[in-house]
């Protein structure tokens, strides 16, 4: 009798556990980059003139961006043709 009662209690606990409302939605967490640090493009010396590397001052982001902007505008044929 006692064993049957224990068994019934265990069975009831088993079924009740199935009715639990534990959180089942995975919460997204933004990961952080784990790899090596990359260098900055403006921290390089420009290539020689014959390699058409342009001109900027090493370490000066502004002058590098100006160099890149000039290259970008060279893609615009209207700038090249209609000046």
């Amino acid at each position: 009798m006692k064993r049957a009662a224990l068994g019934a209690a265990a069975l009831a606990a088993f079924f009740i556990a199935g009715c639990g409302e534990s959180e089942q939605v995975v919460v997204y967490k933004q990961g952080q980059y784990q790899g090596k640090k990359d260098g900055l493009p403006w921290d390089n010396i420009p290539l020689a003139a014959e390699q058409r590397g342009g001109n900027w001052t090493k370490g000066d982001r502004g002058s590098w961006e100006e160099q890149i902007k000039n290259r970008q505008l060279a893609q615009h044929e209207h700038k090249r043709i209609y000046q």
Binding site: Y28, Q30, G31, Q32, Y33, Q34, G35, K36, K37, D38, G39, L40, P41, D43, N44, P46, L47, Q51, R52, G53, G54, N55, W56, W64, E65, Q67, I68, K69, R71, Q72, L73, Q75, H76, E77, H78
Partner: protein
């Protein structure tokens, strides 16, 4: 701050695959890996055929970065999305997440074994010393560190493919669209004409 982007003008792209060849050559991309490719719709239908050159679009909110289980992606100060091949496990999640099919996986051995992911770097190399042999072998050439733009865009014969700061290339594209009066359908009004003033109306004569 620059946000490096690509923009392909479908009215100009002639499907010459010059961009694909330039990329392959510049970065010595292995066989079976296509960092860039040209997609054509309505092939052979006169007047309806359109081509567009596609590679990594260096998304501002990149899904590949979000799904990577080892967090090997990072974004540079110029908005270029790059990854560390020393961390990549070649799981392929980024391939499923990417709407452009940019991540590529070299065949690394027998039994279909997948290698580490490879993708367009905007010719910005990767997390190795700039212009070093290691950087070139793993990621290709670092043209940004040489003061140059990606080889694909600079090689484009019709200048359909534009690469550079999003604002600058959108200005170039906008001017083209205004001049020819069409062609903004593919990329939408916002890209072709910029944000402008709230409630501003399109110029007379321009389509779409």
């Amino acid at each position: 701050m620059a946000r490096m982007k690509f923009l392909c003008d479908a009215e100009r792209c002639i499907e010459c695959n010059g961009c694909v060849t330039a990329c392959k050559n510049e970065n010595e991309v292995p066989w079976g890996v296509n960092r860039r490719r040209v997609v054509t719709i309505n092939d052979g239908v006169i007047g309806a055929e359109k081509s567009i050159s596609v590679a990594c679009m260096h998304c501002s909110d990149a899904p590949c970065m979000a799904v990577c289980p080892v967090d090997c992606f990072y974004r540079t100060d110029d908005g270029v999305v790059l990854h560390d091949k020393d961390l990549c496990i070649g799981c392929g999640y980024c391939f499923y997440a990417c709407p452009f099919g940019a991540p590529q996986f070299p065949q690394a051995g027998a039994f279909g074994l997948r290698g580490k992911m490879d993708k367009c770097t905007f010719c910005a190399g990767g997390p190795e010393a700039d212009k070093s042999e290691a950087e070139f072998k793993k990621y290709g050439r670092n043209r940004l560190a040489e003061g140059k733009l990606p080889a694909c865009a600079e090689m484009c014969s019709t200048k359909a493919l534009l690469g550079g700061d999003g604002d600058v290339i959108a200005d170039i594209y906008r001017e083209r669209v205004l001049r020819r009066g069409k062609g903004s359908e593919v990329w939408g009004w916002g890209t072709a004409y910029g944000p402008g003033k709230p409630g501003a109306q399109p110029p007379a004569g321009a389509k779409s």
